[in-house]
Assembly symmetry: C2
Homo-oligomer: 214 residues x 2
DNA sequence: TGCACTTTGTGCGTCGTTGCACTTAGTGTA
DNA sequence: TACACTAAGTGCAACGACGCACAAAGTGCA
């Protein structure tokens, strides 16, 4: 038997590696500059890849950036999932689920993510044409996570979960906006305090509802 | 003008990088095991390269190993060259040149190189067919270095330099043999002392000649 | 000796990166 | 407006790594 030394498909692995290099390079550049401000040439050089290869893997520069966002959101969702999965998943009531989510939200370090996405959103508005489509990415990720969450917490209604999660996500977006307006996306101790404060208010509001007296 | 981001020829650079990876892997494996005892599959995996690629760059496993030796010898020669070049090149006499070389020999850390080559030579003898051709590499490197040395030290006869250098190289080979027999190629303090002692005797012998009383 | 198995080295087709010319479009400048 | 320049994105051919089948030779074992 003539056996090969490598895993089944080295070619596919190499391809994935090149793709990964491009994404990593884009990610690094965005973090360094606070927003996606670089040419394809720059990106290719940073990724140690030919300029042409960038367009072999991605339809456009915006595509690269959008994919970078997706990755970042996915990582955050993973973190969130792990945080909620570790708790005993409540008693099956929607109150139990809410507490779970609230706790996870407090435990996860969201400001860096918000700052990252904010940089891209800002750049999106700077020139005329609509770019990146980061809102789409955000929405899609939310929906995906919502259905997954519903499947995991088998006790309660799927609709209940969907409404709760979308409510939370929407709230996070509002919190992010305010936080950015007040701190400029800085990541120091003060801005963290601001973030925690806003997050607390969000959680309280969602818990008690908008018209609790009725 | 449409300009490319990379250096003139990225393709050539990649090719060289693959070749380098193979040589580095071979070098590492030889050092780890004391001798070239590994299959092409192993080498390829270590180099993070397809098995086929090894044979695209080298005619055989022996070729890889031989090239590794050449590299190692080249590095040593570079070190030697640097050591002799730093001194004022003597007064042009062959005595001055000899002192230069003797000093350089004492300053360079040769035992690791000797141990490295010894491992390959040992493996060469273990099975029937002649392998590697490391002696050829050694001889060729010596000659090349000799002519180069002659060109640099312009004052004295080229023949003089050739005879001196080949004498020294031959002596080093003898010293190496004795050193290996007495220390087994170990690289501890004791074996270093043995090396220095043998080297001193070599230098004295060459300096004074084999029949100084005549 | 016969047989199974491993490893070396080769031939050849496939695939993905690369290089390059080219089109399109945005921007600055005279 | 005209012109130069920069950058995005595409089409296409070439190059080299890769996968695989295969022959040849070595090795261990019954």
């Amino acid at each position: 038997m003539t056996f090969q030394n490598t895993a089944p498909d080295r070619r596919a692995e190499l391809k994935a590696r090149y793709r990964q290099a491009i994404l990593d390079a884009a990610d690094a550049l965005i973090r360094e500059r606070g927003k996606p401000q670089f040419s394809v040439d720059e990106l290719a050089e940073r990724a140690d890849v030919s300029r042409r290869t960038v367009f072999n893997h991605f339809a456009s520069l915006d595509d690269v950036i959008m994919t970078t966002c997706t990755r970042m959101l996915s990582a955050t969702v993973d973190e969130f999932r792990a945080a909620t999965a570790s708790s005993p998943a409540g008693d099956g009531s929607s109150e139990g689920l809410f507490d779970e989510i609230a706790t996870a939200l407090r435990n996860i370090d969201l400001p860096p993510v918000v700052a990252y996405l904010a940089g891209i959103l800002t750049a999106e508005g700077e020139n005329g044409r609509s770019q990146h489509g980061i809102s789409d990415v955000f929405t899609r990720t939310t929906e995906q996570f919502s259905t997954e969450m519903a499947a995991r917490t088998n006790a309660i209604d799927e609709f209940e979960v969907a409404i709760l999660l979308s409510s939370v996500m929407n709230g996070i977006a509002v919190v992010s906006g305010h936080w950015l307006a007040r701190t400029g996306g800085a990541l120091d101790a003060v801005s963290r305090t601001v973030w925690n404060e806003l997050l607390d208010r969000l959680i309280v509001t969602i818990r008690t509802g908008y018209a609790p007296s009725h």
